[in-house]
């Protein structure tokens, strides 16, 4: 029996997830600096986000509105009165020496998100309850210099880029989720997937795990079967892909069960997920309770959302992702299973956008869920992170339908687009990839193939047309797949008097 199966036989996992979402506002939360990703270091800072004396923050209206919309979409109650708080700590990722956050008065609380998980007894719903949704600001980015590992141990000093400091960050905290048993890793993954789709539907964030606009911390504890007291939990940080969410929980269940089996106790600590091994590594110990000395932020006035405003935001919420998926599956003629696969891949919007540009639903699904998902998983990224757009796919599909590309050539074009060689038309031109349907270009290859296969040629001349595949195959091989097979077949038959 695997370590995991044994762990699940003896212990009940209780999981919890803290998800940080960077909002896609134009400007930072409390100042007018741009939030654009990928800018030169320290080019998006000002006296307010650098915490210079005399500067005063003012809250970004869209930041507040987006947070309330997220809360509403997660079935939360919206606070009638909410305040920002200072979370005080000394670490150079915040130039102010505190982070503006929320403490005992979050904007949203007590919600839930339902997710579906495939179990041995079929698809089962799990409810993940939401403790709170609050608004804070992101921190700067540290690079540890010197040393060799890039981690802080062994580093001589750190370099800080404050472009990210002050970008609105929404923290979504679940309540502890018990009773998921062996499905704990899948429930966690389904939750983050569903949350990502919900946030994308709300259009409040890019939700790109690769770029860090959606980040996950995973809490996990094990309770011996039959016991009523939950075990000590660990918090695993740096879990930055959907697959990692699943792996981190699985590996933490295995690690904790082995420790408990040995009679050791689980230390309350922060652990770090390591992408390469799929395991967690011990980080900061939490034996000394963190003391952030929170207090209400005196430079920002409280938020008292108007009831009518909340009602309006609620009314204007987009269709829930699960309801939308059901509707689209019907529209696109996808089975439940096909739709769920597409959703897990994060491909619903990509397929919708591709269809909107004229591609048939079946083809759009074939390209994204069949062809591109392989590229994504090989590269260890999400579909949406691939350097190819629905426009590119719609174009490639149209070229295939017009007989200008074979499936094989289309795959080459896709690969080239993924390698940033240009858009499909540019790639086709540069690599000279169009289908050879010009008869004169095909004739030499056909003659060569006939000469190389005299037996087959003789049979065709006698009327045994079914062996034509041998010669067509040979032609396709010499032309490197760039010929239109139907056209070749026609020409071969014509040449052989059929």
């Amino acid at each position: 029996m695997s370590t995991y199966d044994e762990a699940i036989k003896k212990y009940d996992p209780v999981l919890g997830l803290e998800t940080h979402v960077e909002l896609s506002t134009n400007s930072k939360m409390f100042c007018g600096c741009s939030t654009e990703f990928g800018a030169e270091p320290n080019t998006q800072t000002c006296p307010t986000c650098l915490g210079l004396p005399g500067s005063l923050p003012v809250a970004n209206a869209i930041g507040i509105e987006s947070t309330i919309r997220i809360g509403l979409a997660l079935n939360c109650s919206i606070a009638a009165y909410s305040r920002f708080a200072r979370k005080n700590y000394f670490y150079p990722d915040m130039p102010k020496d505190f982070q503006t956050s929320q403490y005992d008065e979050p904007l949203c609380s007590n919600g839930y998100l339902d997710v579906l998980v495939d179990t041995e007894d079929g698809t089962k719903p799990f409810r993940v309850e939401i403790e709170r949704v609050h608004l804070e600001e992101d921190t700067g980015k540290l690079t540890h210099a010197g040393g060799t590992t890039g981690r802080i141990h062994g580093a001589d000093y750190s370099l800080v880029d404050y472009n990210r400091a002050g970008i609105p960050l929404v923290e979504i905290v679940t309540k502890p989720v018990p009773d998921t048993g062996e499905y704990a890793p899948l429930v966690a993954k389904a939750y983050v997937t569903e949350l990502r789709d919900l946030l994308r539907g709300l259009n409040v964030s890019d939700v790109r795990m690769e770029e860090g606009s959606l980040r996950c911390d995973v809490n996990l504890s094990l309770t011996p079967k039959g016991s009523k007291t939950w075990g000590t939990r660990t918090e695993t940080k740096n879990v930055n892909s959907l697959r990692s969410v699943e792996r981190a929980i699985k590996s933490e269940i295995e690690r904790q069960s082995l420790e408990l089996d040995k009679g050791n106790i689980i230390k309350q600590e922060t652990r770090h997920f390591q992408e390469d091994t799929g395991t967690t590594r011990s980080g900061r110990s939490k034996e000394v309770a963190e003391e952030y000395r929170y207090f209400p932020e005196p430079d920002l006035v409280p938020i008292a959302p108007d009831k009518a405003w909340i009602e309006k935001l609620k009314k204007d919420l987009p269709e829930q992702p699960s309801i939308r998926r059901t509707r689209l599956a019907k529209e696109w003629n996808f089975t439940d299973l096909e739709m769920r696969d597409v959703a897990t891949l994060g491909g619903v919007d990509l397929i919708a956008d591709t269809i909107a540009q004229g591609t048939s639903p079946a083809s759009a699904r074939k390209w994204w869920a069949g062809e591109l998902s392989g590229h994504a998983s090989k590269a260890g990224v999400e579909l949406i992170d691939l350097k190819i757009t629905p426009t590119d796919i719609a174009r490639i599909d149209a070229l295939v339908n017009d007989g200008k590309l074979t499936d094989k050539l289309a795959r080459q074009v896709i690969e080239a687009v993924l390698n940033s060689e240009g858009n499909p038309d540019e790639v086709i031109k540069k690599r000279n990839l169009s289908v050879v349907s010009d008869d004169s270009a095909l004739i030499p290859a056909i003659e060569e193939a006939i000469a190389a296969n005299p037996d087959a040629a003789a049979k065709i001349r006698e009327g045994k047309v079914q062996v034509v595949g041998v010669i067509v195959g040979a032609v396709m091989k010499t032309t490197g797949g760039s010929a239109d097979a139907a056209k070749v077949r026609e020409l071969v038959l014509k040449t052989l008097g059929q």
């Binding site: 209206a61 869209i62 150079p92 210099a145 580093a155 750190s158 800080v160 900061r284 938020i303």
Partner: protein, 98 residues
């Protein structure tokens, strides 16, 4: 009766990254004691009818539009930093945190 103990002063010093000598703990405990006593006087005022507040103006919902403004020039901000390298602020490493 002393409201603040040596241990509390030591913990505050740790949080504030202050390196206090043993002898200083008593000294600061006494000084903090005087400060706390002075602040405690505020508690003598009758505030039965006053709601707790964190802001003196009584205003709520003051927001700004989501519009970008020009940021500071990088040269300018790095010039004020004690040390910089590679267009970034250079800071001492901090142990045991990540």
């Amino acid at each position: 009766m002393s409201r603040i103990t040596r241990e509390e002063v030591a913990n505050l010093a740790r949080l504030a990254r202050l390196d206090l000598a043993e002898s200083e703990l008593d000294e600061y405990a006494q000084q903090l004691e005087i400060i706390l006593e002075s602040v405690a006087k505020v508690g003598e005022v009758s505030t039965k009818d006053v709601k707790p507040m964190s802001h003196a103006t009584g205003l709520v919902n003051i927001f700004r539009e989501d519009i970008t403004k020009e940021s500071l020039k990088r040269e300018e901000i790095l010039r004020s930093a004690p040390a910089s390298e590679d267009d970034r602020f250079r800071v001492p490493r901090i142990l045991d945190e990540e």
